[in-house]
Structure formats: C-alpha cells, structure tokens
C-alpha cells in the first residue's frame, strides 16, 4: 500500500511538472491552431529561457529577474525566427515546416553550446521553504509553478475570449482565409501568436531551471514529452493542452512511485493507446488532411 503522504507528495509533484509541460506545450498548440505549423523550435526558446535565467541570476542574484530576462530573450528570438524563416514558409506543407523548425532547434542548440559550453549550469531554487498540506511537507516553489500555470491559462482565456485580437486569433484558428477577407492583416496575428508562444516557452524554461540540469541538450530531451502532451490533448486545443499536460504530469509522477524506469515510458504508451481510439487526440479535430 502506498503511503498517503507519499501519494500527496507525488500528486503535487505531478501537478508541478504538468504546469511546466503546459507552458511549453501551449506554444506548440497555438502555433499549430492558427498557423498550421509544428514549431519544434519552441524547445529552443525554452532552453534560452533557462540559460538566460542562469546568467542573469548569476549577475543579479535574483531568479525572478532571471526568468523575466529569459522571457524577454525568448520573445526576441521567436520574433526573429518568425520574421526571417516562418514568414517565408507558411504556405508549405506541415512536414516541411516541422523539419525546418527542427533545423532551427538544432542550430539553436549549437548556439547555446557556443556561448555556454557543455557543462551543466546549476540554478538555485529561489524559495526553499515548505508548506504543510494535509500533513505532508510540500515545496512552496512547486506550488508556485502550479499557481503560475493556472494564472497563465486564465490570462490566455481572457485574452482569447475578451479582447478583439484574441477573438481574431480564435477566428483565424477556424479559417485564416475568412479573417483575411474581412480586411485583417493575418500576418500580424501570426507574429503576435508566435511571440506569445515563444515567451511562454521561455517562461517555462526559466521556472524549471532550478529544478533540472540546464545543459545544451535540454530542449531535445524534453521534445518528445512536450510533443506528446500536445498530441494527447489534440493540436490546436488550449483546454486540451491543459488537461493533457496535467495528465502526463501525473502519469510520470505516480508512475515513478510504482516503477521508476516505466515512468518515462508510460506516457508514450498512454499516447499510443489514446491515438488508437481517437487518432486526433483527446480534444483535437481533424483539421488537416494528411
């Protein structure tokens, strides 16, 4: 029988991982929903977020400033990539953009290696205190992660449902052509969405940095997981991404209680299962032909 305290601890742990997955996967999901591109380079903005957090916090001593810096750099980088690369290839097929974004990711890993080297960079945890929940000691920092993820979800919801630009984006997710036909410059929407995606990925990296090894391959290692979260939730669905992010987080966390090595594999097995039943993911719709 699993100890109740251990269980609560694992659930919180899973929720915190899920929060990070959500922040990273939402970028991929939005970009696909609106622009029909698979933006694997989001992993690069995630890595940049982590590395900038490291560098800035080294100089200023503040993780918060570091995360902010990470988000800014991620925003700038994603803006540059969108304008220079994606702008030219929006009309190509999805496999094409996926390969190209992968190239950007790999190249970016190289850039990171060039500036920061191969050695993993440690980032200190800003809040080391613990909170007692139902008798279990839980790290406050992890609770903070969960809170931030929910805040971001709420913020995104407000943006998409209460602002005119957000509504334009939702309309664009249904049909870009019809939005264009109204006289709205859709390319500005694309750029905005891409920057939002990149910034959130950067935020994820910065927040996660204290809990993991910040090293050049970090984006590649987490790629499969993030992509899987998006697929389970269904590409293009914001709610789906949240649900599946927390789901995968729980699978990994609770799974490691049961049998550690299996925990890494289990989410993939779940994904295959879901795809067997619903080939477009939990909430996805069959937007595209193959």
């Amino acid at each position: 029988m699993i100890d109740a305290q251990l269980l609560i601890s694992a659930v919180i742990f899973g929720l915190s991982i899920g929060s990070i997955f959500f922040l990273m996967a939402i970028g991929l999901s939005l970009c696909f929903g609106l622009m029909r591109i698979i933006s694997l380079d989001q992993m690069l903005y995630y890595s940049l977020g982590a590395y900038i957090t490291y560098s800035v916090s080294l100089v200023t001593g503040s993780i918060a400033l570091g995360v902010l810096g990470g988000m800014i750099v991620a925003a700038i980088a994603s803006f540059a990539v969108e304008r220079l690369i994606f702008l030219r290839i929006y009309d190509r097929d999805i496999a094409f953009t996926m390969i190209t974004s992968f190239g950007v990711l790999i190249g970016g890993v190289g850039v990171i290696k060039h500036f920061w080297g191969l050695v993993p960079r440690p980032v200190m945890v800003p809040i080391t205190s613990q909170l007692s929940i139902v008798g279990t000691d839980v790290p406050v920092y992890r609770l903070l992660l969960i809170a931030i993820a929910l805040l971001v979800y709420g913020g995104l919801w407000l943006f998409l449902n209460r602002t005119i630009i957000g509504k334009a984006i939702r309309a664009g997710i249904e049909s870009v052509e019809h939005v264009e036909g109204l006289g709205i410059n859709v390319y500005r929407l694309f750029t905005l969405t891409f920057i939002i995606a990149g910034t959130l990925s950067g935020l994820a990296g910065g927040l996660y940095a204290p809990l993991i090894m910040v090293e050049p391959q970090m984006g590649l290692e987490v790629l499969a997981f993030v992509f899987m979260v998006v697929i389970i939730g269904g590409l293009g669905s914001i709610k789906g991404t949240l649900v599946s992010a927390f789901l995968v987080g729980q699978i990994v966390s609770l799974g490691s209680l049961v049998y550690a090595p299996l925990a890494q594999m289990a989410p993939f097995a779940v994904m295959l299962l879901i795809l067997l039943i619903k080939p477009t993911g939990l909430y996805g719709t069959a937007f595209l032909k193959r």
Binding site: K167, A171, S175, H178, L182, G183
Partner: protein, 228 residues
C-alpha cells in the same frame, strides 16, 4: 469617372491546368453585374482572383485605376472590395455579435444600424454562437459583416444556394437596396433572381466569357440559358 472594377485579359490556372482564359469584365459604380455559368465554369475562381486569394498568370485587375494584383487579400478588402464566399462559413465559435465586431474592427465602422435595417433578424441573434445559425441566417451574417465599412464593391458567390425561397426573396430586396451605394458582382446559378436585379450579365462557359448582356430587356432566364 473610372470604373469600380476593370478586369482585362485575366488568365488563371490551378497548378498546371488553366481555368480562366482571357477574361475581361467591367463593373461601374453601383452597378449590379451577374456572372452565370455551370458548375466548374470558373466563376468562383474569377471572384477569388479579384479578391486577392489567387494569383493570375496574366492580365490586369484594377479598381478606380488602382491595380489590385499582387496585393494581399486583406489589402484588397481594405480598399473597399469585399468577398462573400460560397461556403457560408462564419466563425462558429464566436457569437454573432463577435463576428460583427471583427468586421467592425477591420473597417473601423461601428455603425450597425444599416445592418439591422437590412437584416432585422440579426438583432435577435446577437448573443447566439454563429455555429448554431441556419443557412439563411449565416448568409445574412456574412453579408452584414461584409457591408461594414461601406465597401464600393461586393463580390458575392452563390448567395442563394441551399436557401429557402422566402430568404431568397428577402436577399433580392437587400441586394436591390445595397446597389444604391455599392456595386455588386453576383455569381449565381439561380437565373430568375439574377435576371430580376442585374443590369449586366456575363455568361461564363469553360473558363471563357461567352456572352455579355447589357440590354436590360434581353436579360431573361431563357436568354442566359442559351449561352450555357
């Protein structure tokens, strides 16, 4: 005064196959022009090219002496030329009000009075999600959205397709009213409607214009039929 729309020698192809051959069309201000033809004749292709969604191989498209070619479709829309597509697709997840808000945002025209004059039903549907509208209501919403910003030209693609006769009659009146301020190019298979309101008819067959009828008296369904 320069014409609202002048299309000259337009040739358009989908990939390797040509669809339109040397099309020439003129539309004057506030004129109602109809394009008739069988399925696949190329009518939608023509409208889409004018609206900027397709690029022609050759030919010119100008409006009041300003070229439309090479412009993005949202640019063309901003110039006052609005395309109302055939697919009756509105933004399903948004409410009717939000659909209109997007139109207003794009044109900075927040005067919805004229819409509710033409389509009083829309007033009652404001809070409903557009996905739940009937075909006729969607058409009303699409046209309502398109006339925001007081466009000088409306390109309407098969508006009455699949609609009940009562709605078709309503649309006929709406088009008549609209043509007082806006030029209309209507692509239609419904010949009686077209012949009732059009001042000029182009018959398109296999990508070519086979007839241009400008004599109002000559515009009758049997006359059009002859050319198709």
């Amino acid at each position: 005064m320069s014409a609202t729309l002048v299309v000259k020698d337009l040739t358009v192809s989908y990939g390797e196959s040509k669809v339109l051959f040397n099309i020439s069309v003129t539309v004057d201000a506030c004129e109602v022009v109809a394009c008739v033809g069988r399925n696949g004749a190329g009518k939608t292709t023509l409208l889409k090219t004018i609206a900027g969604f397709l690029k022609p191989i050759s030919g010119t498209v100008t409006s009041n002496d300003v070229s439309l070619l090479g412009r993005a479709s949202y640019d063309v829309a901003r110039m006052g030329i609005k395309y109302v597509p055939q697919d009756k697709k509105v933004f399903s997840d948004l409410t009717v009000r939000e659909n209109l808000e997007l139109g207003s945002y794009a044109t900075q025209d927040y005067d919805w009075q004229k819409l509710t004059t033409y389509f009083p039903k829309l007033k009652t549907l404001m809070g409903r999600k557009a996905g739940y509208l009937s075909g006729g209501e969607r058409q009303m919403l699409m046209i309502g959205r398109a006339i925001l910003g007081n466009p000088k030209l409306l390109l309407v693609d098969e508006p009455t397709e699949g609609l009940a006769p009562s709605i078709v009659a309503q649309l006929k009146e709406v088009f008549r009213e609209l043509s007082r301020k806006t030029a209309l190019v209507i692509v239609e298979q419904n010949l009686p409607l077209v012949c009732a309101i059009a001042e000029k008819v182009y018959a398109i067959k296999d990508g070519r214009i086979v007839a241009e009828l400008t004599d109002k008296a000559a515009i009758t369904p049997p006359m059009c039929e002859r050319y198709l």
